[in-house]
Amino acid sequence: MKFSFSGMRISSLVTVVPKKELYFDDEIDQFNFAKANSMKLKKIMGFNKHRIVEDGTCASDLCVCGLNRLFDAQVLRKDEIDVLIFVSQSPDHFIPPTSNIIQGKVGLGNDVLCLDINQGCAGFVLGLIQAFTFLNLPEIHKVVLLNGDTLSRKVCKRDRNIYPMIGDAGSVTVVEKCSEAPSIHATVRMDGSRSNSLMIPAGGFRLPSSPETAIEEKVGDNNYRSKDQFYMDGPGVFNFVQTVVPPMIDELLAFAGVQRESVIIFFSINRTNSCSKNWPTR
């Protein structure tokens, strides 16, 4: 689906990361691979360090920290927030929604609309689209979008396919009406048929957590993980990115009436080198 918005902008953005830094070199021995093999992978992938929360720290804590920073700096006032959106796959609880918990913690008014969205990699874009959609309502002038995840707590430390890439963070994005702002274009597609490509199999109502689902087992690819932990079908996701995403970029550029050559920066999640003028296109 294609979207086009006008008269709104991102006015503030703050990102919060935990203090604790862990280095790939210190983690190599916990992976079930030869050290030389992991070192080669480090060089290719650019693995170095990642920021990991202490046990007990939730995504909401990082977002609350960011919100308070904006309040303290007087960049944002509590009484001007109309909508609070929390996008995460690391909620505090099943019930209540984490956005409500955050509302209570920071002392927002009862007329603030709170909404949780369960999204990961696409969460920032989807959260923005939701924020823009709210801003199309005449009563809504300012939306605060919170994105946060602490997935390190749900990844096996012996899973070399995932653990080195996982870092914890939270962000606060203030989105507001602005009549002078240029148009914003987006294109979004969903593919639920591949929903098991990124999954934590156990812990929900389909497969509740149990002592059995907590057992970390050696899986076919030489890594370890339990059913309570995050799983990614690496080849499937990789193939998806290589084949599905490039045409979508061309589609978006055509929709926006923008020539690829005129784009200054292509920013990609999960890439350390985010700047590319020669984005792969099939």
Binding site: K40, L41, I44, N161, P235, T243, P280, T281
Partner: protein, 77 residues
């Protein structure tokens, strides 16, 4: 060339017997990180530059497929 490829695969995944598989990806012998490692090794070995759009499962599912990819880059058997 197939011997070189087999050696590289063995270096990346010494625990698997690639000769017994006709679909390295489908059989779980190579994952995405292995493919990236293999691409880097092939680039180094043959002084080529395999493009991102070529890093798809069908180009790495067998030794024959990898040979065909290398042939596109002018690597002779």
């Amino acid at each position: 060339m197939s011997g070189v490829i087999a050696d590289l695969l063995k270096t990346i995944r010494p625990e698997f017997n690639f000769e017994q598989s006709s679909d390295f990806i489908g059989d779980g012998l190579l994952d995405s990180l292995d493919i990236v490692t293999l691409v880097s090794s092939l680039d180094e070995k043959y002084s080529i530059s395999i493009d991102g759009v070529e890093i798809v499962p069908e180009n790495f599912c067998s030794i024959q497929a990898i040979e065909a990819l290398l042939a596109k880059h002018g690597v002779q058997p």
